[in-house]
Amino acid sequence: MSKKTTVKAGSKSAAKKSVKTSAKTAVKASKKASAKADNFGGLSEDLLLRIHDLMVKSRVLEERLIKIYKAGEAYFWIGGPGEEAFGVPLGLLARKGQGPAYDWFHLHYRCTPTMVALGMNMVDSIRLIMNRATDPSTGGRNFANHYCFPQWNVAPVTSPIEVQYPLACGTAHVQKRFGKKALSIVTGGDAGTAEGDFASALILASRKGQELPVLITVQNNKFGISTPFEGQHGETHIADRAKAFNIRARVINGNDPVETYLAMQEEMEYIRKTGKPSFIEAHVSRLYGHSSADGANKKAHLLDPVFTFENRLIDAGILTEKAAKKIWEIYEAEGVAAQEQARTEPVPTPESVWEHVYVDSENADWRKF
């Protein structure tokens, strides 16, 4: 996204009316305006626009996945619309690569925004939900958003809630030994914190003298399927539980990408510097409910982090409505094309059930011993 095409001076109404001025004047003017109204925590306009762009891309992709499900081209949908303001900064801030020198991701099923920020193509998410043999995560074997990208240290997403937490301590242990200051990141839901695995991770990460470089996060959307937060939690903040283990912890507005970016940046720096864990509870909107199981319809009363951020950028003159609209259109077209492409691709063959039970496909079928 180039500044030249998006930056316009002044407020939303001013932006609407504004005629094209030279790019240089526009940038200056917008900087002034944004400095006055909203300094976005000092994040650069380039970065803000990049975050916005990725948030839109992730949203368009998720909505495409819902459409694919509703059109009967997929069996199940679950995903992360509403978590863009949290997930995109997470993907941007991490040290991306393969092996112990790079950060590890132990994500749950609402992490499309992080994957998009890491650079996942839309088509790879669509291949997954449409169970194509070309699905790079599972080869058509698993649900929507059960991503696995070893080239970016993205651990396979599992359906059982919260098992990813102690695994993150395992990769963090390896990273600590490797000594290149990489960290492991784990995400999960608020209801899932009732599982013992959550407590396991707090304990494993915080033992005195053996602390682990792990960023433990909870995306608190106030629901576990239909059970409200109050129905499960006595604690005020989930983050308070981390404090009991002497883990540095904070609660953030995960619907604000700027707040999230800055908080996460600070915590990641702390972890890299100290080798100790940190905990973030992010409050987010579960914008389309739990999953296709409860309809996957948009909840109009909830704050929409993508539009909220978009309007904020427009108000500050960093983005125009027209440019914003264009971004949505470009990604919408990409999503449609990706779906069309995935449709033409092969599905797993029946015999392939025996592949990869064991390494090199040995011993899978006992009839053949």
């Binding site: 651990a155 242990h173 991770a201 390494v359």
Partner: protein
């Protein structure tokens, strides 16, 4: 001769010295104790985990995913049950990721009865383990196999469950581990932590050699002609003893120590049954949906017309637990006389 516990310890030492094992961990696995059965005494990478079985398995999966080799221990198999879904995930990770993510990790845990350990120190796990696709499962019956199977488990690119009989932990075999000093006392002085004045103690490891027992390969421990007895772990010794006794009466029993539950040595079982026409499967896990039942099913399917008698499974009774009093324990898992009776019955059966 080394005990099974010493053999495991030596295998782990070999693993951390030569095979890239970087973590050996679990409850009380590190210093000062070195494991409740002393199997991890003196190892340089051994450390104590919190008292948290799920944490241990989750951590092991993370370590394996991160690219390092580890051997994790669950103190008693009786406490592995709350990790079942993690074991399931570890077993399905390669498949679910379409071959992308391997989890080369070893989980070892003491299993079974025979030490009067009562309800929560006598559980078996072999039948449960056999329902965890993606795992390889081994169950050694003697020190040399304990050593060779541990090395094979460490080298395997898949997750491997290493089920060690509690009752065999002090059992000594009659074959030396390559590199082991022939004098038992010498070995003890080298690698057993002294009971008193252990401060600053360090083991002196013998010059061990690589010795692999391939996973999936059984062993005939007693050759015979009249009946095949397929067993593993502690029950091997009971079956051998009965075979020895019956040989004196002219009943020739072939005992197969399966050594691996999965993959299992079907070719060995098959050719033995083809020879004897009779088969008994013996193990101490509970009898309803027992691993021996799978083998009996397969024997029936593939060898029906070569069989001279119905295949039989002799297993632990289908009870919620194994009671502490010897009368209870001995009436729960197969004993010498049960095995003898079963063998006699199968041999006596005429088509």
């Amino acid at each position: 001769m080394a005990s099974v516990a010493q053999a495991i310890r030596m295998a782990l030492h070999y693993g951390e010295t030569n095979l890239g094992v970087k973590d050996i961990f679990g409850q009380d696995v590190g210093a000062p104790l070195g494991g409740v059965f002393t199997a991890t005494q003196g190892l340089k990478t051994a450390w104590n985990s919190p008292l948290d079985e799920r944490g241990i398995i989750g951590m092991a999966m993370g370590i394996a995913m991160g690219g390092d080799k580890c051997v994790a221990e669950i103190q008693f198999a009786d406490y592995i049950f709350n990790t079942i879904d993690l074991l399931k995930i570890a077993g399905n990770t390669l498949w679910c990721t379409n071959g992308q993510v391997q989890l080369p990790m070893v989980v070892m845990t003491p299993v079974g009865a025979g030490i009067f350990g009562s309800v929560y120190h006598s559980h078996s796990f072999d039948a449960w383990a056999s329902r965890l696709p993606g795992w390889k499962i081994v169950m050694p019956s003697n020190p040399l196999d304990a050593y060779g199977l541990m090395l094979a488990a460490i080298k395997d690119p898949n997750p491997v469950l290493y089920l060690k009989s509690k009752a065999l932990m002090r059992h000594k075999g009659d074959e030396l581990i390559p590199g082991e000093p022939s004098d038992e006392k010498e070995l003890k002085a080298m690698i057993d932590k002294p009971v008193q004045n252990a401060e600053g103690w360090k083991p002196r490891w013998p010059d061990l050699e690589e010795y692999i027992v391939p996973i999936g390969k059984g062993k005939i421990t007693h050759a015979g002609e009249h009946i095949t007895v397929v067993t593993y772990s502690r029950m091997v010794h009971l079956c051998d003893e009965v075979a020895h006794k019956l040989a004196g009466e002219g009943i020739s029993v072939e005992v197969i120590d399966l050594r691996s539950i999965y993959p299992y040595d079907w070719q060995m079982i098959k050719s033995s049954i083809e020879k004897t026409g009779r088969v008994l499967f013996v193990n101490e896990d509970t009898e309803v949906t027992n691993f021996g039942e799978h083998l009996a099913y397969r024997a029936t399917q593939e060898l029906f017309y070569q069989l001279m008698a119905r295949p039989r499974v002799l297993a632990g009774k289908n009870l919620p637990g194994i009671g502490l009093h010897p009368n209870l324990e001995k009436n729960s898992v197969p004993q010498l006389h049960d095995i003898e009776t079963a063998i006699r019955e199968v041999v006596a059966e005429v088509p």
